[in-house]
């Protein structure tokens, strides 16, 4: 793919075919840097996962090579591309100067370092690696004991493999944050694994078949039969919070009943309402989660969930049903507000029923609820 032709500037017999790269893992680019003529280019496609990117290296002057990234859109030609880095005297400065988050192409510094390093744009003796850790990228160059969060304008000497500047304060802070997050998450995972392993052992010791719950579409009849033969005295109720497998959690809920589990939990009453003489309470319940299975990375340690307490109008029995929590943005299909009416509207699918457009937002508030003319 190279556009490099014979080098007329040098009065030796070295051309591209017999050139041996000395410091860069990518011979083509090193040749362009060291012996290319002004105006010459070399280019390559991105690696697997980055195949729609084309990286173009252009020799601008004796010591300067510009690096551009072009988005090769399938069926729509290419875009004009942006400059992502400049190589001056063997030092590459990653500086897109044009962050375009709206594009499919990622122009972030760390992503560019990562993708270029996958194509050999790193010092042969000092390989580097860019990983996404928890919430941001971390650049590691083991040979020089370098670990940092790449920043816009980072300069790496391709001849030595070292970062030539001191890391700015924001990059240091970011790295510290990531490392703390990583440490906390690893500890959390350790505890969760231990709790889950012990709960699985108790489930098996009680005669439960955990394999039945490990398939995508569990055989409910087989699970029901297995559950009927289990010794439930060996399974404490709070194992429901220790299992990672949702089917096993559901089995325990089914055995003990949600009402019994709810009685063991702390909650706040966030709203009460009486609709046609039916009494409702909306509860914000503290859900223990020893397994960490369902907790998202940035979620707090303490998880609360909304439950609607209602009375079956036909039997008069009280029971609890979970409803979605209040969502923070339009993409979350949660409630707009923590009220009994919004919870009932969510429960009855009123928001999606009130439009023929199935892409519309599904976040009900009190106004969304349509009271049934008959409810039995």
């Amino acid at each position: 793919m190279s556009q490099i032709k014979s080098n007329k500037l040098h009065n030796d017999n070295i051309n591209f075919s017999n050139y041996k790269n000395k410091y860069l893992n990518n011979k083509k680019i090193e040749y362009l840097i060291e012996r290319g003529n002004v105006g010459q280019i070399a280019f390559f496609k991105g690696e697997t996962g980055d195949r729609y990117s084309i990286y173009v290296f252009t020799k601008r002057s004796k010591d300067v090579v510009e690096v551009s990234k072009i988005w090769n859109q399938y069926g729509h030609g290419t875009d004009e591309g942006v400059r992502i880095a400049v190589i001056r005297k063997g030092v590459i400065e990653y500086n897109s100067g044009e962050f375009r988050a709206q594009s499919w192409v990622r122009y972030e510094t760390a992503e560019n370092i990562k993708q270029l390093s996958r194509q050999g744009i790193f010092n042969t003796n000092s390989p580097l690696k860019v990983n996404y850790v928890r919430s941001d990228y971390v650049l590691r160059i083991p040979k020089h004991d370098i670990k940092l969060c790449p920043w816009e304008g980072i300069k790496i000497n391709l001849k030595t493999g070292k970062v030539v500047q001191k890391a700015p304060k924001h990059a240091i802070n970011k790295l510290n944050t990531i490392m703390n997050q990583d440490k906390a998450q690893r500890k959390r995972n350790y505890i969760a694994n231990k709790e889950n392993t012990n709960a699985l052992k108790r489930y098996r010791d009680a005669g439960g078949d955990t394999e039945l719950a490990r398939v995508w579409n569990p055989d409910e009849a087989a699970i029901a039969l297995n559950m009927s033969k289990m010794d439930w005295s060996k399974i404490p109720m709070d194992d429901v919070f220790r299992h990672r497998n949702a089917t096993l959690r559901s089995n325990i809920i089914e055995h003990y009943g949600m009402n019994a589990i709810m009685e063991t939990l702390d909650y706040d009453v966030v709203d009460v309402n009486t609709i046609d003489s039916r009494y409702y309470r909306l509860l914000n319940v503290l859900i223990p989660d020893f397994s960490g299975a369902s907790r998202g990375f940035n979620e707090p340690e303490e998880y609360r969930g909304l439950y609607l307490e209602m009375i079956n109008p036909s039997t008069g029995e009280s029971h609890f049903e979970g409803v979605a929590n209040v969502g923070n943005n339009s993409w979350e299909h949660g409630l707009k507000e923590a009220t009994v009416l919004a919870a009932l509207a969510w429960r009855d699918n009123d928001a999606s029923s009130q439009t023929t457009n199935n892409w519309s937002s599904d976040r009900p508030d009190s106004e969304t609820y349509v009271k049934p003319v008959i409810l039995k």
Partner: protein, 137 residues
């Protein structure tokens, strides 16, 4: 993305089954947009009960007894693709002639006037498994 249109309706509910009575044009649009359904409907016969929802836990069903009233009422179940009437839950149903009564072992009867109904099963959010799911009774 199709243009959003606000729809008003009358709601009937028996336990975890919500029946939304829409006018004919909104009903057709709803089935077409949400299920891609046009002619996939099933006219009941006396041999198969018009089951609107099955009780996964108790085995109790929300159903219209066909022998008693289905034929004269003319209930048509609208099934989504690949679903079988009497075996699977319909997405909608039409009551053509006279009132029908929906019965269930644990709930009082609900009388439905003639009209076109979209059927929804109420949902709950399981905060322990972090999944939204249809309520099973």
């Amino acid at each position: 993305m199709s243009k959003e249109k606000k729809v008003s309706y009358v709601k009937y509910q028996q336990g975890d089954v919500v029946m939304i009575k829409l006018n004919k044009s909104d009903f057709d649009e709803h089935l077409s947009h949400q299920y891609g359904l046009k002619n996939n409907s099933y006219k009941g016969t006396a041999n198969i009960p018009a089951v609107l929802a099955f009780g996964e836990v108790t085995g109790h069903t929300h159903r219209v007894e066909m022998k008693d009233m289905l034929e004269e009422a003319g209930v048509t179940l609208h099934m989504s693709h690949g679903r079988t009437a009497g075996k699977d839950v319909p997405v909608a149903f039409t009551v053509e002639e006279a009132d029908v009564t929906l019965i269930h072992e644990e709930h009082d009867d609900v009388v439905l006037p003639p009209g076109t109904y979209v059927l929804k099963i109420v949902r709950e959010f399981n905060h322990i498994t972090r999944r939204a799911q249809n309520v099973a009774d």
